[in-house]
């Protein structure tokens, strides 16, 4: 019989060890899943985890890692601030979309003006759009005590509807022969988010992600606000005793995560995606939730987790095309990663013991 015993102090070693254990368990369980689908599990796992880094097409795929990890990091760091404070923004996808639309609208409104100010203005507008969309659940929560999980999630579907209207209606390319989608920013130099170093996938969004990781790390470790965020998440009553205003924290955390998601959307639409289209968003806002937890809500951990997640995306696509795996199987695989992470998470707070012997089993 296995028995759980609470540790007096959370184990630091396990806090860092569990993500690796979770990845390992995912490989094993995922391998079993792929084997059940009639594929060679070793080949699939190698295609997902090894080929994008060191395989035949690695020169191209490595760049794709940063392209995907950038927005994931940007969004996940914002979400992690809220999650640490016990404020659950599930609607980053919506904030990401609205940020992209607002930012792109600014660029398209001044088209074809060539000025150095266009792109910075668009970035600000993108952040503002995401912030504004996140303020809806924030204000509803502070004023009427609504549940931010439900409100932010439902607003994703509103944002998706607005996106389809934008792509087919008010932002449609007037010279696009009636096809859905806005003008392509790659042919509008002042508003373009180019690849900064050829072949690396590095664009302004990735730079922003690195900056945000550092800023968030400093905020959480050194700043009073970061301390208040952690305190509010761990012990809400103690936070009120320490003089933390719950409402201000809700506004800050939702606002910050919304703005960061908005930035991510703007960088995506002006860079890798190139235009506002019906489905440019590709679900980063939801995947970022997994990334935030996989990275233990720690900014540096999130950066690593985003790279890992990007790997499963890039490798998963490879596996889907080269080995004929259904794309749903890849998503199950990613789901397993979160599942195992949460499952083994308790090892940092509990130790497993064999009942009756009193000896440590693990």
């Amino acid at each position: 019989m296995l028995r759980l015993e609470k540790r007096p102090t959370p184990s630091r070693a396990w806090a860092w060890g569990t993500p690796f254990l979770a990845v390992l368990l995912t490989m094993i369980a995922g391998g079993a899943l792929f084997a059940a689908l009639g594929k060679d599990p070793v080949a699939v796992v190698r295609t997902i985890f090894w080929d994008p880094l060191f395989g035949e097409f690695a020169f191209y795929l490595r760049g794709q890692l940063l392209v995907k990890a950038g927005p994931l990091t940007l969004i996940a760091v914002g979400l992690a601030l809220g999650f640490r404070a016990g404020i659950w923004n599930i609607g980053a996808e919506g904030q990401y979309i609205i940020g992209a639309i607002v930012g792109a609208s600014v660029g398209l409104a001044v088209y074809p003006t060539e000025s150095r100010l266009v792109f910075p203005l668009m970035i600000l507008a993108g952040g503002f759009g995401g912030w504004l969309w996140a303020m809806i659940p924030a204000i509803l929560k502070t004023r009427f005590n609504t549940n931010e999980i439900l409100v932010s999630l439902m607003l994703v579907y509103v944002a998706e509807t607005i996106l389809s209207k934008a792509a087919t209606g008010f932002l449609r390319n007037p010279e696009g022969a009636g096809f859905p989608g806005s003008r392509n920013f790659s042919s509008y130099p002042a508003a373009r988010n180019p690849e900064l170093i050829a072949g690396t996938g590095m664009h302004w969004g990735v730079v922003a992600a690195f900056v945000v990781v550092i800023a968030a790390y400093v905020l959480l470790q050194r700043h009073l606000l970061g301390f208040q965020i952690r305190l509010a998440g761990q012990a809400p009553r103690a936070a009120r005793f320490a003089g933390v205003s719950p409402n201000r924290l809700v506004i800050f955390c939702l606002g910050a995560s919304g703005a960061l998601a908005g930035f991510a959307g703007l960088f995506e639409v002006t860079g890798p995606a190139g235009q506002i289209s019906i489905d440019f968003n590709s679900g980063y806002g939801f995947t970022a939730i997994i990334v935030a937890f996989l990275g233990r809500l720690n900014p540096v951990g999130i950066l690593l987790a985003a790279l890992l997640m990007a790997l499963t995306y890039v490798g998963g696509e490879m596996a889907a095309t080269n080995l004929g795996l259904p794309s749903a199987a890849i998503r199950v695989f990613q789901g397993m990663l979160l599942f195992f992470l949460l499952a083994v998470d308790l090892l940092s707070n509990y130790r497993v013991r064999l009942a009756g012997f009193g000896r440590e089993a693990r």
Partner: protein, 520 residues
């Protein structure tokens, strides 16, 4: 070996031992309880009393040793087995559902509850038979702490136990309620039920118990017949050192430091108590003791003083300046520090280490934050000063608050507030669940603070504590505060009446309130 009234041994514990990671909780513990005997288990916090009774009640399994109950080997695998063998336990923290009525709560705790109507009849019968009247149909949320304890006791008695374990039963009772409880326990003992009684309160043990086993650091360090030794002798056996009573300098009182005027506040929780026109003043150098049974508005009063709950500006005044509209940190800036009752989760964050917990309330007065950035070096130094000055036993300041024992964490929390040198300090239950030595230390620290000119407000359910350190006493009852009276010359009986709600001038009003309450 102690012998019961009838000379027959009910439970024999032989060489019991239990280890937890890093702690030897019990080491070769042996004692015996006679049938019909009231046996006290005495010891400081962390002496191993809880572990021992948990093993007897089947919650924890011993690593070594054996127990013999009524001549047969006894090794309960779970509480259900213990109950089947005739062992029942009343816990210090009640496990009752406030939204259910008495009978429903009793049924939930039984292994095999009878139909509800029969049960209600049995509850009435048993509770009245033992002088603990209870109405089975009342909601537990509406009961006082003493009545809630009756629910727990009646639940045990319905199962006709041979051994009743009581963990700190009087910590929530008024003196009158204690008398009723003791009468019940004596009646039970006379009928042949043995009682294992855990308490810190030595005078109680002297009046009630036939025998006592004293634990220190997991070992039995002595046994005695409590009636025949002094409370002081027992305390010294428990602590393993000699104790000194808190010393206080009787200095001149300064001007009024804290004024609360007609404070009324609704409780945020459905089963809380609203404060009704609470008024008092505390002078510099004075200790005001606010007594009262738990749940009469203590938490609400502390929240209104700490700034967690805000009031009208002039309702709370520090040195004559209205601060009722300010939040906790602005009040700390103004010189008012508070320490809530609940250590884990309110006064301290359980999973944060002591350095972070030092920052929690110390940031303003100790200047630990500069331009929004935390001075961790300074904070660590502050935490270390608290640990050193208040003798907090911990491996270091990097330890999580939840890993500290209750008494040590309490010393840390109190130390954190006192070392900020507040001009006014308000503490709620400063020594609750704290061992005798730590309690004496904390009381002395509060008196020292008062001697340096601070106004001190001690909210406590421990009347002895208030008598020991307070200059004036006021009782909190159903959210109303009595007129503070000097402690000198106050009798226990008078205090009991004040706690029960008859405060002279407030009497008629209080009764009117009760009538309204009954209608609602």
């Amino acid at each position: 070996m102690t012998q019961g009234v009838s000379g027959e041994v009910l439970l024999d514990v032989e060489g019991i031992g239990k280890s937890y990671p890093g702690v030897r909780a019990n080491d070769d513990v042996s004692f015996a309880i006679g049938a019909g005997e009231v046996h006290a288990l005495l010891g400081e916090n962390g002496a191993g009393k809880s572990t021992l009774v948990k093993m007897i009640y089947g919650l924890v399994r011993p690593d070594e040793g054996r127990m013999i109950l009524r001549g047969a080997p006894y090794a309960p695998a779970e509480p259900r087995a213990a109950r089947a063998a005739g062992v029942a336990m009343v816990f210090q923290h009640f496990s009752l559902f406030e939204a259910l009525n008495v009978a429903e709560n009793v049924a939930l705790g039984m292994d095999d509850p009878p139909p509800m109507r029969d049960l209600a009849g049995r509850i009435r019968e048993v509770s009245e038979g033992y002088g603990l009247p209870l109405d089975p149909a009342r909601l537990v949320g509406d009961l006082s702490a003493g009545e809630r304890q009756r629910v727990e006791i009646v639940r045990c008695l319905l199962q006709d136990p041979k051994l009743l374990i009581m963990d700190e039963p009087t910590s929530v009772l008024t003196p009158q309620e204690v008398d009723i409880l003791f009468a019940t326990l004596r009646q039970l003992a006379a009928e042949g039920t043995s009682i294992l009684y855990i308490s810190h309160k030595l005078e109680e043990i002297r009046t009630l118990c036939d025998a006592a086993t004293i634990l220190r650091r997991g070992k039995v360090v002595g046994t005695c017949v409590p009636r025949e030794v002094s409370a002081r002798a027992m305390a010294e056996m428990m602590v393993g050192a000699s104790l000194s009573a808190p010393a206080r300098a009787t200095g001149e009182l300064g001007p009024v430091a804290l004024t609360v005027e007609r404070l009324s506040a609704a409780s945020p929780s459905a089963f809380g108590t609203s404060l009704k026109e609470v008024s008092f003043e505390v002078r510099q150098g004075e200790v005001l003791g606010i007594g009262g049974v738990a749940g009469n508005g203590q938490d609400e009063l502390l929240a209104a003083l700490s700034g967690e709950a805000r009031t009208g500006r002039e309702v709370v005044r520090v040195h004559g300046k209205g601060i009722g509209h300010l939040g906790p940190n602005e009040r700390r800036q103004a010189g008012l520090c508070t320490a809530p009752e609940e250590r884990l989760g309110h006064a301290a964050a359980p999973d944060m280490n002591l350095v972070e917990n030092a920052l929690l309330s110390g940031s303003v007065r100790k200047g630990l934050v500069r331009r929004g950035f935390v001075d961790w070096t300074g904070t660590r130094a502050f935490a270390e000063a608290v640990v050193r000055t208040f003798d907090v036993r911990t491996p270091g300041t990097g330890t999580a608050a939840r890993a500290l024992s209750g008494g040590n964490l309490q010393k840390f929390v109190l130390g954190r507030e006192i070392l900020q040198e507040p001009e006014i300090i308000v503490v709620n239950q400063p020594t609750w669940g704290v061992d005798a030595a730590a309690a004496a230390f904390i009381r002395q620290a509060l008196l020292d603070r008062a001697a340096k000119g601070a106004a001190v407000v001690v909210i406590s359910q421990d009347i002895d504590e208030i008598m020991e350190i307070a200059d004036r006493f006021a009782a909190l009852n159903e959210g109303r505060l009595s007129e503070p009276v000097p402690v000198a010359g106050l009798t226990l009986e008078r205090i009991g009446l004040m706690l029960g709600g008859s405060h002279g001038m407030h009497r008629a009003e209080a009764q009117a309130g009760e009538i309204r309450h009954a209608e609602a």
